[in-house]
């Protein structure tokens, strides 16, 4: 669809004047109005727009919060309470920001799983996919540092545990940790630099999002059939009004879930311990990260060796970037891959269960027989970790060679006709 030529016609003198000098209105028209989208996109394709909304929402609420927050170990916790109590609608800003992070991750996980199911990472969308993985990594770094800022018990101890991971690096590990902390423990310099980076990274995310969207608009969207656009008159509809109205409807539905948490259940996704001010002398009984990190935390703890655990955890994210080459199947959409479909849903289940193991104490029994523990949480996490990586390095490479896909529709228009439904 990259060759789709501009249909913008400047109608007024001012528009013609601007268009001749900086064709910015043309750019917006071509990418948000006339941009052709496959007409068979389902609601899973609305999460890109939802994510864009969440990024902007996080930036706006964040900027307002910074006006009232104090990044100092003695005042951070109190300044958050000041926001909750004394700032007009401060409670709304803070709860929208804290829950917004969770909503952002819910949306991004749906977005990622959608891409994995429909093979959106395959040629010619490899760079688009890799940019997405970069955004995901930046999001994780941003969210982690944001959670440290209220300086509660989980903030402090989460920061301690995660920064300590770098000490596993041979020879220079300890020096790197000291450098990250700006001292010999998590303290005021750590809080200050995390605050600085927490403010910087969202704008870096924004930059990579622009590249992500640029790549998307160059190669065009994938679609549930996985068949590329052949005849854009028959296979696509213009972004506006078709995708715009559908995205808007999906966004408002998503906002209802968001509002449910913000207004009626604002602390559900957080941890009670983070309402206890940070105390370096008191370790909480269970240090758990935010829910969206739990699968990776589960992998980290599954490996008995510290360095091995850290490598496995980072590898579990980095391996996503290699998906375009690990999946050997020529067929993009999982809808036409009977065996893939089963493995995909098993993978989703494995990811959720890894999250469960990450939330539980490591010595907890999972299976008991006659009062004896035959499988504890670490053992369970190890099985799941093997399954997680097997999906990437065993299942996907081999499946493409042995699986017999169902016949593909000749075109997107045909697939729409076959389903007897235009939308």
């Amino acid at each position: 669809m990259g060759e789709h030529h501009s249909t913008y016609v400047p109608n007024t003198g001012i528009e013609r004047w601007i268009d001749a000098r900086l064709p910015i209105v043309r750019l917006m028209h071509d990418s948000a109005v006339s941009y052709p989208v496959p007409r068979n996109l389902n609601y899973f394709w609305t999460f890109g727009g939802i994510l864009m909304f969440m990024l902007v929402s996080q930036i706006i609420t964040g900027i307002v919060l910074v006006m009232h927050y104090t990044p100092h170990v003695d005042y951070a916790f109190s300044s958050v309470e000041h926001i909750m109590r004394d700032v007009n609608y401060g409670w709304l800003m803070r709860y929208a920001h804290a829950n917004g992070a969770s909503m952002f991750f819910i949306a991004v996980y749906i977005h990622i799983f959608r891409g994995m199911y429909y093979g959106s990472y395959k040629a010619p969308r490899e760079l688009l996919w890799i940019l997405g993985v970069v955004i995901f990594l930046l999001m994780m770094a941003t969210a982690f540092m944001g959670y440290v800022l209220p300086w509660g018990q989980m903030s402090f101890w989460g920061a301690t545990v995660i920064t300590n991971l770098f000490s596993a690096i041979p020879v220079v590990g300890e020096a790197i940790v000291t450098w990250l902390w700006g001292g010999y423990s998590v303290d005021n310099p750590t809080l200050n630099r995390f605050f600085s980076l927490h403010y910087l990274l969202p704008f870096m995310i924004f930059g990579v999002v622009i590249l992500h969207v640029w790549a998307l608009h160059h190669v065009g969207q994938n679609n549930p059939s996985g068949v590329e656009v052949k005849n854009y008159k028959k296979d696509t509809v213009p972004f506006t009004p078709f995708a715009t109205v559908k995205d808007a409807f999906a966004l408002v539905c998503f906002l209802m879930v968001f509002a449910w948490f913000v207004f009626f259940h604002p602390n559900f996704l957080g941890h009670a311990d983070n309402y206890i001010p940070a105390d370096p002398l008191k370790t909480p009984a269970h240090i758990v990260p935010e829910w969206y990190f739990l699968p990776f935390y589960g992998i980290l703890r599954a490996i008995p060796d510290k360095l091995g655990g850290v490598v496995a955890m980072f590898a579990s994210i980095a391996i996503l970037a290699f998906l375009p080459w690990l999946d050997t199947s020529k067929v993009k959409s999982g809808a036409y891959r009977p065996a893939f479909k089963i493995f995909f849903w098993v993978f989703v289940l494995v990811a959720i269960l890894l999250g469960y193991t990450g939330s539980q104490p490591t010595d907890q029994a999972v299976l008991t027989l006659g009062g004896r523990t035959i499988l504890d949480m670490v053992g369970f996490a190890q099985i799941l970790t093997v399954m997680y990586f097997a999906y990437f390095v065993v299942v996907l490479p081999l499946l493409g060679l042995f699986e017999k896909p169902k016949p593909l529709p000749a075109s997107i228009a045909d697939s729409v006709l076959a389903s007897g439904h235009a939308h």
Binding site: S34, W91, V245, V252, A259, H423
Partner: protein
């Protein structure tokens, strides 16, 4: 997605449910606190002003000498969505406290009666003093204590909580703790300075029963007219009242939040309905002549 993948997904979720329906509790955890009824439960729940006023009385007379409310100002007591004291009452109340101010023109710090704009003074000048007076443990500040205490709900109960709106783990725990003091089980030795409480994680708590003086061994109130509004003075009632007060202290904007939330939800529902109809209408153009969309 076809029906196969959908049924697989459902099977996966069900399987997870079976595998973890009975989560084990960490060793040494206290008993699960019983559920209480709270006026602030649910999307339309509000604080009971009279209960907050009673709870404040209980706090002041039984807790305040050790546990501060450092994030609260006296003025909060007369603000909307709270106990609803009058401005006059708050001014009188504040004046009973002394706060440090200064320096004055001579460069000296001085003490003066508190004003409504002042925060509640801390009960101890510093943590070391608090420790020295309390067997080595600092009594925690109560400003957000009702949100800082919880207990494990377990899978899948916590997922149902999203729908049922149960989020009173903190209040339920605090009420349980206040009513959970009892003699230790036979053969269990409780060290000096510790007390047995069946709801406290580990069961041995440094704090002595704060309501001890209010009730005799049979649980009868030593002063049946402790409350001036005629509310019966029972251990559970007193515990619930002070808990409700602490919940308000931790979440003073709850009523405003829920009120705003109801409006936001209604607005979103209407907007979603309109957008859905608009979407149907726009996409129906494709039924007539698909290739004319551009």
């Amino acid at each position: 997605m076809n029906s196969l993948s959908r049924s697989l997904g459902v099977a996966a979720i069900v399987a997870t449910g079976f595998a973890f329906a009975a989560p084990a509790f960490a060793a040494g955890a206290g008993e699960k606190p019983p559920r209480q009824t709270w006026s602030f439960y649910g999307p339309f729940g509000t604080y009971d002003k009279a209960q907050l006023q009673r709870g404040f009385k209980v706090y002041r007379e039984n807790c305040a000498s050790c546990h501060g409310l450092s994030k609260l100002s006296f003025r909060n007591l007369s603000e909307p969505g709270g106990p609803g004291f009058t401005d006059g009452q708050v001014r009188t109340l504040a004046a009973e406290y002394k706060v440090k101010d200064g320096p004055n023109e001579a460069g000296d710090m001085f003490e003066r009666p508190a004003r409504p704009s002042d925060r509640f003074p801390k009960p101890f000048a510093n943590d070391e003093l608090a420790k020295a007076a309390n067997n080595g443990a600092v009594p925690p500040d109560f400003s957000v204590i009702a949100k800082a205490r919880s207990y494990e709900r377990g899978f899948p109960t916590y997922l149902f909580d999203i729908v049922t709106q149960y989020q009173q783990q903190g209040p339920d725990y605090i009420t349980a703790l206040l009513t959970g003091y009892e003699a230790p089980p036979k053969g269990v030795k409780v060290e000096d300075g510790l007390h047995w409480n069946k709801y406290f994680p580990g069961n041995k708590i440094a704090m002595s029963n704060p309501l001890l003086a209010m009730f005799d061994d049979a649980g009868k109130a030593s002063d049946p007219n402790y409350y001036t509004d005629g509310t019966p003075v029972t251990k559970l009632q007193v515990a619930k009242d002070v808990t409700a007060f602490l919940m308000w202290a931790a979440e003073p904007k709850m009523e405003e939040r829920k009120r705003t939330g109801v409006k936001v939800m209604l607005w979103l529902i209407v907007l979603a309905g309109l957008l859905f109809m608009l979407k149907k209408r726009i996409w129906s153009r494709l039924d007539a002549e698909p290739s004319k969309a551009h």
